[in-house]
């Protein structure tokens, strides 16, 4: 543990400050072609596609559609039991504006863009759904072949649920019920480096892919699955990423570039424009969260009822996993023993959402902290004292009954109080993260405690 706390230079720092760090777009390969994508200009439509005019243009070496993909529909998390639903290239329907329909590889970007314009698509537009709150309406547009929300949680449940303790009793015993609705918006990762992929056919029949992925082996698996290739036919070169923040796990550019390289026999680079990044790349999901807490007038949070709608966009991608993480943390930094949580992964006609820095949890932290402040306000209790009382401690359990070995909530809150010069009574000022006892262990918190074996 000697390097922890040490001040070490970055191993890539010299490369960065001399302009020598080699990002995917900086790689040059002889004979390289440039790619441009045809993307849906509408939110929801049946489509018929004719690429013949594009393929005939001189200097165009490949036009790739779903017909060229050995396995077009593949779910990124099929290994985790989330069935595949998303086509690499749209087949007969588009479900979000920006969905890729075809990729053209040509001698230069301008020619590729011209060829894209020559592809003929007939769009038979359909009603689109954008508001997750309306997904269950009887007249809601139908977004997804599974219905308007994900139905394949374990046991074919259509929601992620957490049940802990006895929430009805908690609500009966409460002095006050405090409710709130929280709706964080989508956030675009906006890395300064756009999605870029370079696929190079090798003489031995393998493909080398220069990738911006944050997850090299993961993306290798995704490409191999779409191509129905063994992993050892692929060589991935990566690890130098111009900002990812969770948005470069979706393997956005690699597989289409690979297919164009195979079809043309030439190296193909696909570099997204900033417009594609902002309009068509995945974002952090928007959420709709409703929280109702049963609280006592002296500031104990006895129970929580919570509903989360997670906007997955047009396909499931990673959302069931994100919502599951979200459910595990839905009490935030606080120990609430009686819980009733339901979460739904809802489909809309928007770009599929994905991970971004604290997948599933960041917007949740926003909501749980606001809600605790709201409780303090309603009860007329100091917000620091309310937090300290209910803060996670050693031996408390999370919503999904993970024993908390060493939560830093109490010292963190005390540090913040110090930094702000906020006065606290002595019994709060001396609180620690130690396992609850005495006044910090009222009867309603006993059942949720981990056994001393569990906590270590």
């Amino acid at each position: 543990m000697k390097v922890v706390g040490a001040r070490l230079p970055r191993y890539d720092g010299i490369g960065h400050v001399t302009g020598r760090t080699r990002y995917v777009d900086d790689v040059r390969v002889p004979g390289m072609l440039w790619a441009k994508a045809l993307r849906s200009p509408v939110d929801h439509a049946g489509i018929r596609v004719d690429t013949s005019a594009a393929a005939r243009i001189r200097g165009v070496h490949a036009v790739v559609t779903h017909e060229d993909v050995p396995r077009n529909v593949y779910g990124h998390l099929e290994a985790l039991g989330i069935p595949g639903d998303e086509p690499l290239f749209a087949e007969d329907v588009v479900r979000y504006k920006g969905q890729p329909i075809a990729l053209v590889a040509a001698e230069d970007e301008d020619l590729a863009a011209e060829a894209v314009e020559a592809i003929r698509v007939d769009y038979d537009e359909r009603p689109a759904l954008f508001d997750i709150r309306k997904a269950a309406d009887t007249d809601a547009p139908k977004v997804h072949h599974w219905g308007n929300w994900y139905p394949h949680f374990e046991g074919e449940m259509d929601r992620r649920q957490i049940r802990k303790g006895d929430v009805d009793r908690a609500f009966d015993q409460a002095d006050v019920i405090v409710s709130g609705v929280y709706r964080p918006a989508a956030i675009e990762h906006c890395p300064i480096e756009p999605q870029t992929g370079l696929a190079v056919p090798e003489p031995d029949g393998r493909l080398t892919i220069y990738s911006v992925t944050q997850a090299l082996y993961f993306s290798m698996g995704v490409v191999a699955a779409h191509l129905e290739w063994p992993l050892n036919k692929l060589k991935f070169v990566g690890g130098t990423v111009g900002g990812g923040f969770g948005g470069k796990v979706d393997t956005a550019a690699d597989t289409p570039a690979a297919l164009a390289a195979l079809k043309s026999g030439r190296p193909v680079k696909w570099r997204w424009t900033r417009e594609e990044e902002l309009l068509c790349s995945s974002t952090r999901a928007p959420w709709h969260m409703e929280i109702a807490d049963a609280v006592t007038s002296d500031g104990w949070i006895l129970g929580r009822r919570m509903l989360t709608l997670h906007d997955s966009g047009a396909y499931a991608r990673f959302s069931p996993y994100g919502l599951t993480k979200h459910s595990f943390h839905h009490t935030g930094a606080y120990t609430i023993p009686n819980l009733h949580f339901d979460g739904y992964v809802v489909f809309t006609n928007r770009v599929p959402t994905t991970a971004m820095r604290g997948f599933g949890v960041t917007g949740l932290s926003f909501a749980t902290e606001l809600h605790v402040s709201r409780i303090a306000n309603v009860l007329g209790i100091d917000p620091f004292e309310l937090r300290l009382k209910n803060a996670n401690r050693i031996g408390d359990t999370s919503p999904n009954r993970i024993a908390l070995p060493d939560p830093s909530t109490v010292p963190t809150i005390l540090d913040i109080a110090d930094a702000l010069g906020h006065e606290l009574p002595a019994e709060y000022r001396t609180m620690t993260r130690d396992r609850r006892d005495g006044e910090l262990l009222p009867e309603h918190l006993v059942a949720q405690l981990a056994s001393t074996e569990e906590a270590h």
Binding site: E107, D108, D110, L111, E114, T273, E275
Partner: protein
């Protein structure tokens, strides 16, 4: 390996204004390159489709004060206005960042296409200054109030210069602030008063900058909402613009004393 976009337009370097006008033709398939901050990306991303691009000839890149008029050539860089007359100077100082405004030209700023996210930050201050713009095209040279030029669109004429009276004025400028050092203008109000006559113009409430006649006639700041109907765009909603416009008008007017 050279980069040749296969559909690249021809680049023409006219030696004089007459050559420029001749090459420009009716403007339907020509574009004039000022600094390039607007046109170069539009060519690259295939939004501007023209057969030829013309550089500005020499002589259009000076600010002159003569005969009671200030004249700013189309080729003058926006950064050159930063220490000049208000409210133009404040708008110039806040345009993009120093790299972009050192390359962007006044002419280009007057000719940005209507309907995109607000650009043309210099238009409102120039309207407040009562500017006229000199152009050439079909029918020869024309000198007209800037508001007429903006209303008719630049499409088939070339801007030579923009001028206003070299006179004492009290001025004001108020813009919606955003927490970044560099941000596109969402909404801004420019005002100038001279000899009891007040001129007020707004950026970001219409496809080009426009005057606010109700406010100029002595109405209240809220009367600005009778003159313009701000719309949603990528930078801000029409709702937000409508909410803050009267406040910006009030702030700009308060500087007039």
């Amino acid at each position: 390996m050279a980069v040749v976009a296969h559909s690249a337009p021809d680049l023409i370097r006219p030696g004089s204004v007459d050559e420029l006008v001749g090459a420009f033709g009716d403007g339907s398939d020509s574009a004039v390159l000022g600094g390039g901050t607007v046109l170069v990306p539009e060519l690259l991303h295939r939004r501007a489709r023209v057969a030829r691009v013309l550089l500005l000839p020499p002589g259009l890149d000076r600010v002159t004060r003569e005969g009671g008029r200030v004249s700013i050539g189309a080729g003058v860089r926006v950064s050159e206005l930063e220490d000049g007359d208000e409210p133009l100077a404040t708008a110039a100082r806040h345009l993009a960042d120093l790299e972009v405004r050192s390359q962007a030209t006044v002419g280009g700023n007057l000719c940005v296409r209507a309907g995109e996210t607000p650009r043309g930050d210099l238009q409102a201050p120039l309207l407040a200054l009562g500017a006229t713009v000199r152009t050439v095209g079909a029918g020869g040279e024309r000198d007209e109030p800037l508001e007429d030029f903006l209303a008719s669109g630049a499409g088939n004429r070339v801007v030579l210069d923009v001028s206003y009276d070299d006179a004492e004025r009290s001025t004001g400028y108020a813009a919606a602030l955003r927490p970044h050092t560099h941000h596109y203008t969402i909404l801004a109000v420019a005002a100038a008063r001279r000899n009891g006559e007040t001129r007020v113009a707004v950026t970001g409430a219409a496809p080009t900058a426009v005057r606010l006649p109700s406010v100029e006639a002595g109405g209240s700041p809220a009367d600005a909402l009778d003159d313009v109907h701000p719309q949603d765009d990528a930078l801000a909603s029409g709702w937000y613009r409508r909410r803050i416009l009267p406040t910006l008008v009030e702030r700009a007017l308060s500087s007039l004393g």
